[in-house]
């Protein structure tokens, strides 16, 4: 029964997305309110959250839409902010290699949160992996678009004294990092990623730290290849 298989995958995937339901609704609403108060109708955050589906660059796009028309610069800025997706792709070459249209959607919807869940979660044996990852990705996108649209429609009418709720995303990433830490035998790559990014953030500040971090992480992992491969 195909329907049964899909249903089972949905109910296996949903609990994994609950923290993101909370985080994305609040962040999405905050984003919608921000667009609303910048003078945009609700269909702007609705359309942008759906088609771009990459949180931080969507916030940046608000100011780009208010500035002068500079497509070339904006193109390269977007590549820079989202360069981390390249690493997600390299990590998911095998996992996302499933037949059919679902693969395209998984790659299209590969935001930080969908990537980190799909990369680390152990899907139960009886559950279809493709459908499981599809529902994780789709639910996350629904939360985000719903939040952005609600924020865009109701704007400043929402009493928004939930200061600090955005920390739910940090908490999520810390916990996923820890889960992965508890599962892995060799902690070298975790330590390398955390330490190098941290140093780069202090030196370069803000989004500027991403590219230098990626280059240094890649170099160190390449230099340590002999050692790290032996450990497996």
């Amino acid at each position: 029964m195909v329907y049964k298989k899909i249903k089972a995958a949905f109910f296996a995937a949903f609990p994994n997305t609950i923290p993101i339901l909370a985080g994305f609704l609040f962040l999405g609403i905050a984003y919608g309110i921000y667009m609303n108060q910048s003078g945009f109708k609700f269909y702007y955050p609705m359309f942008m959250s759906f088609i771009i589906f990459a949180g931080s660059v969507e916030f940046a796009t608000v100011s780009w839409l208010l500035g002068s028309f500079d497509p070339v610069n904006i193109f390269f800025l977007t590549l820079m902010i989202n360069a981390r997706h390249l690493f997600y792709g390299l990590s998911m070459l095998e996992k996302y290699n499933i037949p059919g249209w679902k693969k395209l959607y998984l790659i299209y919807g590969m935001c930080d949160e969908s990537f980190s869940i799909n990369a680390t979660v152990d899907v139960p044996k009886e559950i279809d992996k493709g459908w499981f990852m599809f529902f994780v990705t789709m639910l996350n996108q629904i939360y985000w678009v719903a939040g952005a649209t609600i924020g865009g429609i109701f704007g400043s009418f929402i009493p928004f004294d939930t200061k600090g709720i955005e920390f739910v995303m940090t908490a999520l990433f810390v916990v996923i990092f820890l889960e992965n830490w508890l599962k892995e035998k060799d902690h070298s790559a975790s330590v390398i990623g955390l330490f190098i990014s941290f140093i780069c953030l202090i030196i370069f500040k803000g989004t500027n730290f991403i590219i230098p971090s990626m280059i240094i992480i890649l170099s160190v992992l390449t230099l340590l290849r002999g050692r790290l491969e032996k450990h497996e």
Binding site: P19, L65, Y96, E179, S188, G193, L221
Partner: protein, 109 residues
């Protein structure tokens, strides 16, 4: 900016985002043998990228602020201890977030 120009900007942002997501899959298609170096990266990168993501989610926190990133440091320590102790994802995430909101709304304000 006109509506058309706005649409162009939004489409460009979406297109550039898709380049960063699709590029690895286009360069290393499933029907061809992936070089062993890339396979190696596929094994070690996830752990390293999760570390990068933790830092990325803290990118707007500055150690040079009024509170020197103290609330964030305290809560991350709490989450680490709680998670090693109970190992319940939802508990670690919700307790960490609620405590953080309490800290910055009532203590570090």
């Amino acid at each position: 900016m006109s509506k058309i120009q706005q649409l162009i900007i939004i489409l460009i942002v979406a297109f550039a985002t898709m380049i960063t997501r699709f590029l690895p899959f286009i360069v290393f298609p499933a029907n061809k043998e992936t070089p062993s170096y890339i396979k190696y990266l596929g094994k070690v990168l996830p752990a390293a990228v999760l570390g990068l993501l933790v830092v990325y989610s803290l990118k707007d926190v500055s150690i040079f602020n009024e509170f020197h990133a103290l609330p964030e440091a305290i809560i991350i320590a709490v989450i680490v201890i709680l998670h090693f102790w109970k190992r319940q994802m939802i508990l670690s995430i919700s307790a960490g977030t609620i405590l953080y909101m309490f800290l910055i709304q009532f203590i570090f304000k």
